[in-house]
Assembly symmetry: C2
Homo-oligomer: 280 residues x 2
């Protein structure tokens, strides 16, 4: 067992999938879940995600060797710090937040001695929410970005890497700032753009929304609270990505309006080249 006891703070889709994968891979002997709602935690236990649960964070994490904080992104730093205070010496803390700069800065400013924190963002998830949708293979082959800093002990980084790899992830490392800049374009921007597309569809035209519209707007079904919080946590990088997009949109509008087929063909060919390179 790499980590005898695993504590999961926030047992939703991501937290639940961490629990399932950890048990399936023999990573931990005991998985304890911490949340607000006993009924939800009990359901997660029935689903085989947890061995035990509590609504008391300090109590839940006290015997854990690794603590994974899967709370809403705007609560992660506070929950990591709360857990760190109650954790036993040598415990490792990590998280699943979609933004990293604010979280890592807030945590490192107040992290008590004797425990370690390595920020993480597994690029896995879904527009679905809740432990009911947890999957043992959610992280299989998916990237998990770790965001250690100059303050991170090499041994802590190694243990965090081993944890995320063991539950299926391919680990890459970025600084928290690089992470937030890259993800603003690769994850946050598409979400807001998909939402605007969905919002522009009048009810009368819904029957004419086929596969293309559905694929392009699928992520707009995501949790509005999550994506509002992400915008607050990564405001500058997202604003910049939106500015770049607005500039592109203006170029495209002019090409369409002026029937500038050479320019429009150039834009669409560049886009196809990028998309083809990504694969299916």
């Amino acid at each position: 067992m790499l980590f005898d006891t695993l504590a999961i703070v926030g047992v939703g889709l991501l937290g639940g999938s961490v629990g399932l994968a950890a048990k399936a891979r023999g990573l931990s002997r005991h998985v304890v879940g911490i949340g607000r709602t006993p009924a939800n935690l009990n359901r997660a236990k029935e689903l085989g995600i947890l061995d035990s649960f509590t609504t008391n964070l300090a109590e839940g994490v006290s015997s854990a060797d690794i603590i994974v904080v899967c709370s809403p992104v705007d609560l992660i730093a506070a929950h990591v710090l709360e857990a760190a205070k109650a954790a036993k010496p040598g415990a490792l803390l990590t998280d699943v937040g979609s933004t990293k700069g604010n979280i890592v800065r807030d945590v490192e400013a107040k992290l008590p001695p004797g425990v370690d924190f390595v920020g993480a963002h597994p690029l896995a998830g879904s527009e679905k929410q809740g432990a009911e949708f947890a999957r043992v293979d959610l992280f299989d082959g998916r990237m998990c970005v770790l965001t250690p800093t100059a303050n991170t002990k090499p041994a802590a980084k190694e243990r965090a890497t081993l944890f995320w790899q063991t539950i299926g992830s391919q680990v890459r490392t970025l600084s928290p700032e690089e992470h937030d800049l890259a993800l603003a374009t690769t994850s946050h921007l598409p979400h807001y753009i998909a939402a605007l597309l969905a919002r522009q569809l009048p009810e009368a035209w819904r029957p004419f929304a086929a596969t293309g519209f559905r694929d392009t707007t699928r992520i707009a079904a995501g949790d509005p609270h999550l994506w509002t919080a992400i915008a607050s946590e990564n405001t500058l990088a997202i604003s910049h990505a939106l500015d770049v997009f607005a500039g592109q949109l203006e170029t495209l509008r002019e090409a369409v309006l002026n029937q500038n087929t050479a320019e429009l063909g150039r834009l669409l060919t560049e886009a196809k080249r990028v998309r083809d390179a990504l694969g299916s």
Copy 2:
């Protein structure tokens, strides 16, 4: 046999799927394909799509009871008129064009007497191109929009409805102008927006483009020539849809930059409501 001989002008993904579905449903005894490239047509014959083929349009359509024009959208009107001149009396012509206003107007202005044309747009397809990707079930359960006008004979509309229904489509009727307005938002806008998103991804950040980015940009792999032609055929409606989108984008940018979580939450909640209503 509803239509003893079916002629398909342009045997790619859509034309090939028309052929496969027509044969599978016993719609026609003989399917003839017309195209530019004998090798491609021969391959379509090997795939069971065609019974015979020719590169001579007039010759190919001369014995057909129904002629389906699946050429690139900017060539459809010309090919329909060329086919109409060579068609036998009573023949029905239809098409698969993604825009309808220009095509229907150009065709109706010059359609010879004795044959009928009913514009059609099956909302089926893929970012893939070519008869190799043709599927017998491509139209199953998918909507096909027919765009008859005051000049369309009721009997021709009925026969076109029967044709598209028999190969699997659910038929709905709009005027060509209504079609172009609705599809500018439900189909054309998402394509251009997806292309801009794809184009904004730098090569260094490709590893961080996960499922959300991939879903949202999938259609950006479509044929640049097709989507350049669509923009030329439906310029005003697409420009209008882009204007509305640009206005939405500005509202969103301000909400993000000002950390106006109430406004951002409102936008995202509206978007989620629309997307949830569409289903998966």
